[in-house]
């Protein structure tokens, strides 16, 4: 069965996000009141797997192997 994994990679808490800081400043300049802003990268991966659980495991392996860098990133996986 084909599954779609949505992988979301974010910078770990405490790792400075200069891009987010710049975007936030621009939004504030446009008059928006911002409490916090983070950037994230999203990858949508389609692949065959036996069931939803093995699909999740494989997507997590992809994160560990390439999509995220464990030194600076956290990630979440949503399988559908």
């Amino acid at each position: 069965m084909t599954y779609e994994a949505v992988v979301r990679v974010t910078l770990k808490e405490g790792v400075l996000d200069p891009e987010a800081k710049t975007i936030r400043k621009s939004l504030e300049r446009l008059g928006f009141d911002i409490d916090d802003l983070h950037t994230a990268d999203e990858y949508v991966v389609e692949f065959d797997a036996e069931n939803k659980e093995t699909a999740r495991e494989e997507a997590e392996e992809m994160c560990e192997a390439l999509l995220a860098n464990p030194t600076i990133h956290d990630y979440t996986v949503e399988v559908r």
Partner: protein, 230 residues
């Protein structure tokens, strides 16, 4: 001694490195990443700067996972000198050959400028030409150069910080840190000390007319490693 300067699609400092080696009579040649045998046969490896694979995903992430990196790993294990410069440093971190990661500069901009570096250890092939505490001038050119170590204590305790960004007087101040690197770290060596990752470009400081020839001291370490290959 022949140094393989490993070129990936998007590497662009490969010829500059070969030319800089020419100034100190070290034989070096550009080797395409698919020519794995030529990499294996070399006595040492330089991973040059550039934008391998367009910096897709993260700088160095794709090149770090190419088969030729196994040959590079073998050189590291055999004690041969291996130096990653800029994108090459990012590749070494991404491959796990040295610890840590490079995040976007604190400025969120590409920065191309001269920097002063303090030599923090001379117990490596890349700094044996210097004295500890020497201040040298080598430029940077990167957007993702903010070094984040996995284990800073291990780096410091094992004397594995190669260079720190400093001011002209040799002080590691915040103002002298161009990219927000943790502890002003500009270069590190791996556990075996024969592999180094540095963001500044020694090949761009290889002639007085370029503003500095301090980079030749970094590259000269390869010359002294004539018999290092196992």
């Amino acid at each position: 001694m022949t140094v393989a300067v490993l070129s990936f699609g998007g590497s662009n400092c490969d010829r500059d490195v070969v030319k800089a080696f020419g100034h100190i009579d070290v034989s070096a040649e550009v080797v395409w990443y698919k020519d794995e045998d030529d990499v294996a046969d070399a006595d040492a490896v330089v991973l040059p700067g550039g934008f391998s694979y367009g910096d897709y995903l993260r700088a160095g992430a794709m090149a770090a996972r190419t088969p030729v990196m196994e040959r590079v790993r073998e050189h590291v294990e055999n004690g041969a000198p291996v130096l990653g410069i800029c994108n090459g440093a990012q590749i070494l971190c991404e491959s796990g050959i040295v610890q840590g990661a490079y995040a976007p500069n604190e400025s969120a901009k590409f920065q191309c400028e001269p920097t002063y570096l303090r030599v923090e250890t001379t117990d490596t092939p890349f700094t044996r030409e210097f004295e500890e505490g020497d201040v040298i001038e080598i430029p940077i050119a990167h957007a993702e150069g903010r070094y984040v170590p996995d284990d800073l204590d291990a780096l410091v305790d094992d004397d594995r910080v190669l260079f720190r960004y400093v001011n002209e007087d040799g002080d590691a101040t915040d103002a002298a840190n161009p990219n927000g690197s943790v502890d002003n770290i500009a270069g590190i060596v791996g556990e075996t000390r024969n592999v180094a990752a540095m963001m500044p470009h020694p090949e761009r400081a290889s002639r007085e007319i370029l503003g500095s020839d301090d980079g030749l001291g970094v590259l000269a370490g390869f010359d002294a490693c004539e018999d290092s290959k196992a």
